[in-house]
């Protein structure tokens, strides 16, 4: 397929995303790293695809998730899988560590940014290698930041307070998961492009575990909603 734009020599640049994924929250815990994301892909303000698996297993000890343009996410998953397959090509059993993937993604993002045609993504790479937990954020510009917790999108605004108060880097897996569930509860209430189905995945010494999607706990039977005591109907 040849587009008119290609014939005329005009190169298209990504200026705004079309189908987008929501916030991602990733936390380090005592034995590994856990990531949570919702299962929604939005088409602008329409909740178009409600059951999307967004946690990608890149190698046996690395997870990759991102928020932003979903087709870019799918492309990056392919690029990262290519690297893992190179071990097969060279027959040497050498597998990249999670940090190798993180740095590769940073270089790739930076290259595309320099051509003013970015991968419209905030990327999160999590892994467990040689007894060490690994968690990094690579943003749309190719900035590479390793840290103990990572949030993208609206989670960076709403959830940092929850994370500060209820999480520390040596908590248990269940504690970390609870913090993430709490965060997505708040996001569902406040972020218009959020969804109430989330998915958690974690990496530890044994490898990657991706769980089934679960529904966020919500409560709608508040008295105020039932009696609408705060409002006056305009017909009254």
């Amino acid at each position: 397929m040849i587009f008119n734009s290609e014939l005329s020599g005009q190169q298209q640049h990504t200026t705004s995303p079309v189908v987008t994924g929501g916030s991602v929250i990733a936390l380090v815990y005592k034995g590994g790293v856990v990531i949570g994301t919702d299962t929604l892909c939005s088409y602008g303000s329409m909740a178009a695809f409600k059951n999307v698996e967004k946690i990608a297993q890149v190698s046996k000890n690395t997870l990759y998730v991102s928020s932003g343009e979903f087709s870019d996410f799918q492309q990056v998953v392919k690029e990262l899988a290519k690297i893992d397959r190179s071990a097969l090509q060279y027959d040497d059993g050498v597998h990249p560590s999670p940090r190798d993937y993180g740095n590769f993604l940073a270089r790739l993002s930076y290259k595309k940014r320099c051509k003013i045609n970015p991968l419209y993504l905030q990327n999160v790479i999590a892994g467990f290698h040689n007894g060490e937990r690994y968690l990094a954020l690579v943003d749309i510009y190719g900035t590479y930041l390793e840290s103990n917790f990572v949030t993208t999108g609206f989670a960076s605004y709403f959830c940092k307070a929850i994370i500060s108060n209820y999480w520390n880097e040596n908590c248990t897996l269940d504690q970390a998961k609870q913090v993430i569930r709490e965060c997505f509860k708040v996001l569902f209430c406040r972020d218009c492009r959020a969804h109430d189905m989330i998915q958690l995945g974690y990496v530890d010494e044994q490898g990657v575990h991706i769980e089934q999607a679960e529904r966020v706990e919500t409560k709608w039977d508040f008295n105020g909603f039932k009696t609408r005591a705060n409002e006056k109907l305009h017909t009254q």
Partner: protein
């Protein structure tokens, strides 16, 4: 004499199934002065004998650092070695730029071998006339590889290439079972003893004509300086591998 019928270029086989141009290139490696490598569980040591073209000249360096975790020793055409050395250094730099980690050793040797093989399958090219001993350390362990003009590569516990290398290999055959558990000092002394077997009767080892490079799991590639070389060569007089067996 029949050889001359089939040895004009790389794209002609002989009736015996040989590529004579490639074999001639391997001869060039055998003409280079000896270099050898040996490894233990934690270190790799490269030793080479440096040639001095004339009394007025300096000694030809035979060992080159490729990256902190990798180095090569060469035997054969130095000019061809420079090309491969530059290629290896560039590959390591690019890998480090992309992944922020060290290029796996086996993989780089594979790339060099592929490059070498290309030159053996073209009418317009000639094989590289240099053999490399590649010493490297990566998460997979401690490595010593040999590459060939033919495009083959082999992994070794210890190996010697170049002129009169058979004498060094004979020394290795007697003592290589000790190398795995040797410490760095013992490894260096073994390497120098092996080189000593390969020098001519009227030559002697001194800190000017010998080059020793060492790589360790926690040690970047370094050369021994002149003073250290002198000390080790002096220790050769009293070095007895048998005493190492008694220790174990």
């Amino acid at each position: 004499m029949l050889k001359h019928l089939y040895d004009t270029d790389c794209v002609t086989w002989s009736p015996q199934g040989k590529l004579f141009q490639v074999e001639y290139a391997m001869e060039a490696v055998k003409q280079g002065s000896i270099c050898l490598g040996l490894k233990s569980n934690d270190h790799v040591v490269l030793c080479s004998l440096k040639r001095q073209p004339s009394e007025l000249a300096g000694y030809q360096e035979k060992q080159f650092k490729i990256d902190d975790h990798m180095a090569i020793a060469i035997a054969g055409l130095t000019a061809d070695a420079r090309v491969l050395c530059k290629y290896m250094r560039t590959e390591c730099l690019e890998y480090k730029y992309t992944y922020e980690s060290h290029h796996p050793v086996g993989r780089l040797v594979f790339k060099v071998a592929e490059k070498s093989q290309h030159k053996t399958q073209s009418g317009a090219k000639r094989p590289y006339g240099v053999g490399l001993l590649v010493a490297g350390i990566d998460p997979n362990g401690v490595h010593l590889f040999e590459t060939c003009p033919s495009g083959n590569y082999y992994e070794y516990k210890c190996q010697a290439i170049g002129s009169r290398s058979q004498a060094a290999r004979t020394y290795f055959e007697s003592w290589f079972h000790l190398f795995q558990k040797s410490n760095l000092e013992q490894l260096i002394l073994h390497g120098l003893s092996a080189i000593k077997k390969a020098i001519m009767e009227d030559e002697e080892l001194n800190e000017k004509n010998v080059e020793v490079g060492i790589l360790g799991k926690n040690q970047k590639f370094t050369h021994l300086n002149a003073q250290e070389l002198k000390n080790y060569i002096a220790q050769l007089e009293t070095f007895n591998p048998n005493s190492q067996i008694q220790q174990e």
